[in-house]
């Protein structure tokens, strides 16, 4: 059924902290590693050793530059399915293959019903869906449903592969329907925001903005005297004395 549930019991999703993501691509790699053997297996690679490498991935890390000159900064930006509350990728599906679960809000594809028309990928502004030309069906992030509910794993491992592997702890998994959950608190404390809110899909995943940048030594507490010495160093004699005394 491609009609959306009015509400979901849980709203499982991710918080991605753009302040501390270092762009190491570990989440990208572990996502591929886990999911190529999981619910959506295989994540087909086309010509993996050829000149035009292509394949299905659920998670991509982009590098952006914001602003100009001294004030500019580099931001590593992981992008995957946001498991939106009101996504058209589900409602445009003509077969019922694309669906949103009423229990936890996860958006999934039933690969046995998908006809491979690709319309859902057209409806997604976030590029969350990647078509597998080898299997002839659409594939997408499952929020690792085969990990988060997997009783064969230790409880601390029951998180999505991208979260489990992140070395800088820039990714957090939890239930946004619970105001006391780790993810809800992070969003409240750090001003977590939606991507492309104007589209109106109400993404579940939230991004935490980079913290204000400290651009010079004074902002980390350097002494004024150290930064602006009182001695007139233009005078060669005084400069020589200063160097002598500074040893």
């Amino acid at each position: 059924m491609t009609s959306l549930p009015a509400s979901t019991e849980k709203r499982l999703g991710l918080v991605i902290d753009l302040d501390i993501c270092v762009g190491c691509q570990a989440c990208v790699t572990n996502c591929k590693e886990w999911n190529t053997g999981g619910h959506s297996a295989p994540l087909t690679d086309l010509a993996p050793y050829g000149a035009k490498v292509d394949g299905v991935w659920f998670n991509r890390v982009h590098g952006f530059e914001v602003g100009e000159g001294k004030k500019s900064r580099t931001v590593h930006f992981p992008r995957s399915c946001l498991h939106c509350e009101a996504p058209d990728c589900v409602t445009v599906c003509p077969t019922g293959a694309s669906y949103k679960r009423s229990a936890d809000g996860i958006v999934l594809v039933d690969h046995d019903k998908c006809i491979g028309c690709k319309l859902c990928s057209w409806a997604c502004p976030y590029g969350a869906r990647e078509y597998d030309p080898d299997a002839g069906v659409m594939k997408k992030c499952t929020l690792c449903i085969d990990r988060i509910y997997n009783e064969h794993l230790e409880s601390h491992d029951r998180v999505p592969a991208c979260v489990a592997t992140c070395p800088s702890r820039a990714r957090h998994f939890g239930d946004f329907a619970d105001p006391l959950s780790n993810v809800s608190k992070l969003v409240l404390d750090r001003g977590g925001y939606d991507l492309m809110p104007e589209i109106g899909y109400k993404p579940t995943n939230k991004y935490l903005p980079p913290r204000p940048r400290r651009t010079d030594a004074r902002e980390v507490g350097a002494e004024r005297a150290y930064l602006e010495p009182d001695i007139d160093l233009a005078n060669p004699l005084l400069r020589w004395v200063n160097q002598l005394l500074s040893r």
């Binding site: 952006f64 914001v66 058209d88 003509p94 077969t95 319309l119 990928s121 991507l195 109106g200």
Partner: protein, 314 residues
């Protein structure tokens, strides 16, 4: 957006077929067309063949064409499913109406009612096709008020040109059909002209800044996530060069509107044989023009996902 051949062929062929069917269904019962067996066989044959070949072609780009029957299931939410339902439903009144015309050589009474019903269904099917594109919030060049009128008028226009050519070949030209071809052609041209102005002068609300939510100035892609094109860039990243799009717009306007309109006027005044040749040429030129127009409809569409891949606006 990548202009897939099967979708371009589907929308132009089925548009022509449904346009022609609508005219047969409305003008036949009104007594404006020859209710004659062999004209009926040819006209319905051409119209239903264009529709059916178009629908068949639309399954070619599917990953699993053998599952195409599933595509009607979600008519409650999906315009693609609604289009499928309407396409199938249209065959019922269209088939019965054609039967009355061809076998009984009648389009009066209840048979005429079936014709009107077939015309309504044809219009709804083309409207559903256009709403598949119109409803996508991710593509500014589709998500606007021009998409549905363009699909309806271009389908009606090419259908009228095909019907006009057929009438000339049967030696039974009708000024009313020529009038529809002229009216739909002029209106279609006006809509496309206004559409091209609109997409040249406006952009989606989404930008690289709203896509990333980053504050502090202009957002530029510094380091793409992969070195080769992936599915997203192949499917959604297609963009036609600006100078090509200018030229193709001129070709679409000349072949799709200017030439068929001029030839239709000429066919009204010329003697029988040259008039028939002009009408056939008008139909072929109109069809070609709409293929170019449809190719541009896809190639000029900029998808929001490209904002993550270097586009600053879409």
């Amino acid at each position: 957006m990548h202009p897939a051949f099967s979708v371009i062929f589907f929308t132009t062929a089925s548009g022509l077929g449904y346009g022609m069917l609508a005219l047969l269904g409305l003008m036949g019962p009104a007594g404006a067309l020859p209710i004659e067996r062999w004209f009926g066989v040819t006209a319905f044959g051409l119209s239903l063949a264009a529709i059916s070949l178009g629908l068949l072609a639309s399954t070619f780009h599917l990953g699993h064409p053998e599952r195409a029957w599933r595509a009607v299931a979600q008519w409650r939410s999906s315009w693609l499913a609604r289009e499928g339902v309407m396409a199938i439903a249209t065959y019922v009144p269209a088939g019965l109406f054609a039967l009355g015309w061809v076998v009984l050589e009648t389009s009066g009474g209840a048979w005429g009612g079936l014709g009107v019903l077939a015309a309504i269904c044809a219009g709804l099917t083309v409207a559903a096709t256009s709403l598949i594109y119109r409803s996508l919030k991710t593509i500014h060049q589709w998500h606007n008020g021009f998409t549905m009128p363009a699909y309806l008028l271009l389908g009606l226009g090419t259908g009228a040109l095909a019907l006009q050519a057929l009438l000339h070949l049967f030696g039974e030209p009708r000024a009313a059909v020529a009038a529809v071809a002229l009216g739909a052609g002029l209106a279609g041209w006006a809509v496309k002209w206004a559409y091209w102005r609109f997409i040249d002068e406006s952009r989606a609300r989404s930008t690289a800044e709203t896509a990333t939510g980053l504050k502090g100035g202009r957002v530029r892609l510094l380091d793409p996530p992969h070195t080769q094109d992936n599915f997203l860039l192949k499917e959604m990243g297609y963009r036609v060069a600006r100078n090509h799009s200018r030229r193709l717009r001129l070709i679409a306007q000349f072949a799709g509107f200017a030439l068929p309109l001029a030839l239709t006027v000429a066919a009204l005044t010329l003697p029988t044989l040259p008039a028939a040749m002009a009408a056939v040429l008008a139909a072929l030129s109109g069809g070609l023009g709409v293929v170019v127009e449809r190719w541009l409809f896809f190639a000029e569409a900029r998808h929001a996902v490209t904002l993550f891949y270097g586009a600053s606006t879409v």
